[in-house]
Subunit: 234 residues, 2 copies
Amino acid sequence: MSILIKQRPERTPADDEAGPRRRDPEATRAAILDAAEELFVDFGPNSTSLSQLARRAGVTKSLIHHHFGSKEELFAEVQQRHFRLYFEVQKQMIAESPSDARLLENSLVAYFRFLQDNPKSVRFFSWSLVAGDVCAAEPEKELFELGIRKIREAQEAGEIRDDLEPFFIIKMMIALPMSWFQTKQETLSLIDSEIEPRELDSLYLADAVRVFVDGLRPAAQRSIERRPVAAASA
Amino acid sequence: MSILIKQRPERTPADDEAGPRRRDPEATRAAILDAAEELFVDFGPNSTSLSQLARRAGVTKSLIHHHFGSKEELFAEVQQRHFRLYFEVQKQMIAESPSDARLLENSLVAYFRFLQDNPKSVRFFSWSLVAGDVCAAEPEKELFELGIRKIREAQEAGEIRDDLEPFFIIKMMIALPMSWFQTKQETLSLIDSEIEPRELDSLYLADAVRVFVDGLRPAAQRSIERRPVAAASA
DNA sequence: GGCGCTATTGACCGGTCGGCCAGTTTATGG
DNA sequence: CCATAAACTGGCCGACCGGTCAATAGCGCC
């Protein structure tokens, strides 16, 4: 992902004379996919025209149809390519995390950092949900079940309170970071801050973790520092 | 909002004889605005065509231009009309709520119920954030400042832990319900449930309140016994 | 070295978009 | 009662949409 300096209209490093057009279907496909991802993420599929996309990729419109069929198929491919990466990373994150007391804290932080480093994922999700299409339902289901199992283990071990539905916990754990980055621009317009955005992210994350783990009650009403007995297993 | 049975081609309650076409600019404007809101919310501004909109409102396309100028101006008016209502309701909610220990719990429930009853607001926000426009920045700022003041009071009274930034607390309080309803369709596809959606909402809300107020730590590590949650069932 | 495959091109299609305008109909008020 | 303003209509515009197609040109293979 990312850089995409390749505007591709340079035939060869030296395009002095009327050099014959080089062929490179792989690079062409990649250029189209990259440009498509960028534009789809910025403007949404319906507001991205094939002409615009072709211009950006340094390619003729017909070539897009040649390689991908229709705009719809192209979008599906871009979507699939993106979510494949997303789910792979998430699955690995969950699998790696130990199901101890800090399971959710660590997961929340990891997920937050992931979205921070992958703003495209945030916008992809935003577009998916306004479009109302339930994309990638299968891998997502798998991901949720994996997470639910982890949380159940931690609940049975007395690490997490057991009067909460694991599915809902995951929902909240996604909501807190996702919503933060979705509304980031709005946030920056609300606070006239001299603080740099990434620092602001970290401050929010710290508070989110505090609330997520300990709630909003004042410390005086919590027993964390003077916990009477060891946690009794449920 | 809402019903919009008015397809408008009925001239008068009694359109017996060939009654001359009645003029009613107010009703026309309203019909256009209602149709526009509905379509913009469903498909987004860019994917809603004026012809489609005119058909829905029972009006010619030219009439839309006559009353609103351009599509852009029409959208602005719809947006403004919607957010004016939204902000008014929210402001009243905040002003009414007592800044006691259950301030945030009550606010979270109230906001959740509001979104539950106004799905259009959820989608409006979704569209706003993919569009990237910071609409209605002024009233929103006012709203946040109001909420921040309330939270500060509660913090100073020792009702809410004071090591949290009020702005972030509000962000989370918005994120938990908003994100739930934004992804509602996805949720329903994830769980193959026999439970009815509104009941599911209440279950999520109950857990969200628990986490928001008390965090995720097991009860054995907290000093306060669980108190019943204020989530009134649908 | 020629031949077939295919990546690549540019011209072109019907359709729809947002917007405009000239004209008709209705309400109003002097 | 008629002049005038405003509500309303149908038709039209140029631009652009997604998509097609025949022709061209680079590449691998025998």
